[in-house]
Symmetry: C2
Subunit: 200 residues, 2 copies
DNA sequence: TGCATTTCTTATCCTAGATCAATGCCTAAA
DNA sequence: TTTAGGCATTGATCTAGGATAAGAAATGCA
C-alpha cells in the first residue's frame, strides 16, 4: 500500500525532525493514492477528514460562490500539505473543494497520524505548531494584500512567492487566486511586459 | 497592581475552564493598564510581546500602506484578545499598529502566562488550541468574502457578526475594515435604507 | 498529423467603487 | 455661545477592473 514516497520521507526527516525509525513506524499504515487531472478529493459540504501531502503533482483548494464562480484558496505542489483545517478541527462541513490540477500522487494524513507523530517526537510537535502559526501569518498577509494592494502588486507578489506554481497552472487559476478575472490578469501582464518586466 | 478585572475572571473561568484558585495564582502578577482614546499599544516595526485582553473599552489593530492609508485588521471589545500572533511567535517586527478607539482598560498577557495556564490546566490548553483554530477559520472566511462578495454583502456580514462594534466605532473605521472608502459605505447604507433594511 | 478543446489575448463597453470637493452636522473645548 | 475638529452625506467625475464577444494560440488527444 505504501509506495516509496521519497518526498514525504525527506520532508518529515528534514523539516519535521522525524528519524528513520520513527518514519518507518509512522508511515506503516498510511494510505497513498494517485488521481488524474481534475480528480476531486473533497467536496463543499463534506466534512474534511484528511490533510493531503503532495508527493508528486499539484492540488488546489477553492470555493464556489452563489453565482457559480470559483475562488482559489490555495495551491499545493510537491511537499506541501493541503486541507481544510477548520473542517477537520471543528468537524463541520467544508466550504472548500480540493481537486487535482495535474495528475497527482498524494498521501492521506489523518489526525491519528498527527497525534502519533506528536507523541513520539518533540521535534514534530514544534514543527506542527510552527506550521500552524505560519498558516496564520500567511492568511494575514493575504488579507492585507487584498485590502491594500492593486491587482498588479498582488500578481507580482504571487510570482515571487510561488514561481513554480506560476509556471504550472493556467493563468485563469492565478487570476482566480488573486481575485480578478483572467482578462484582467492578461492586461496586467501586457502592461508589465510593456514596462519590460522580466520575472525569470 | 491587579485591579478587580471581573471580565477577565469571568472569561477565564467560563470560557477557558480556569478555576477560582488557578485564577488567583495566574493573575497574581499580571499587569493592567488604562489608556485614553487614541493611545497606542503597538507600533509597526516593533516586536509584539503581549496579547491584550480588553477588560473595558475598545481596541483595534491596523496596518498603514505605502500611500499612508489605514487598513483595519481587527476590532476588540470587552472579553476579546488582540495582538499580532505572528510577531509574538516568530519574534519578528510587527506589521500592525494597535491603538484605542475608546478609553480602554486592558490586561497584558505574555507567553509566560499562556505557558503557565497551559501547564496547570488541561481545559486551558484545549481552549487555547480552539482559539487558534478559530482564528484561522475567521481569517479564511474573511479572505473568501474579499474574493467573492460585494461591499454591501461584506457590510451586512459585518453588522451581523459585530453588532456591538458597529454601534461603537465611527463608520470610516468599518469602511476601512471592509476595504472600501467611507463615501462608499455611506452609499451602501443609503441604498440599504432605500430598500428598507433594518439591522436592529 | 489533424481536429477539438482549453487557454490566452484583444477590443469594446460597462459598473462598482474611488477620488475630489462641498456642505452640514455634532460634540467638545474655550 | 462661539468655534474648531471630527464625521457623515451628497454630488460630480474618474478609473480599475468586470462582462461580453471574438480571434489567436496552445495543448491534448485520436
Amino acid at each position: 500500500m505504501t509506495a516509496a514516497l521519497p518526498n514525504l520521507k525527506n520532508y518529515l526527516q528534514s523539516k519535521a525532525g522525524i528519524t528513520e525509525e520513527q518514519f518507518e513506524a509512522l508511515t506503516q499504515n498510511l494510505k497513498t493514492a494517485t488521481i488524474e487531472k481534475g480528480g476531486i478529493l473533497l467536496q463543499q459540504g463534506e466534512i474534511c477528514h484528511h490533510s493531503f501531502f503532495v508527493e508528486q503533482g499539484l492540488l488546489r483548494s477553492y470555493t464556489i460562490d452563489d453565482s457559480g464562480k470559483e475562488h482559489i484558496i490555495q495551491f499545493a505542489t510537491e511537499n506541501w500539505i493541503i486541507s481544510d483545517r477548520s473542517s477537520i478541527f471543528f468537524n463541520e462541513p467544508s466550504d472548500f473543494f480540493i481537486d487535482a490540477v495535474e495528475p497527482t500522487t498524494f498521501v492521506y494524513l489523518d489526525q491519528q497520524f498527527i497525534h502519533k507523530a506528536s507523541e513520539i517526537s518533540a521535534a514534530f510537535r514544534i514543527f506542527n505548531e510552527k506550521a500552524l502559526q505560519n498558516h496564520i501569518r500567511h492568511l494575514q498577509k493575504r488579507i492585507n494584500l487584498l485590502l491594500a494592494a492593486t491587482a498588479e502588486q498582488r500578481y507580482l507578489d504571487f510570482i515571487k512567492l510561488y514561481p513554480d506554481v506560476t509556471l504550472r497552472v493556467p493563468q485563469w487559476m492565478i487570476a482566480s487566486y488573486l481575485g480578478i478575472t483572467p482578462e484582467s490578469l492578461s492586461r496586467v501582464r501586457k502592461e508589465l511586459a510593456k514596462r519590460n518586466f522580466k520575472p525569470y
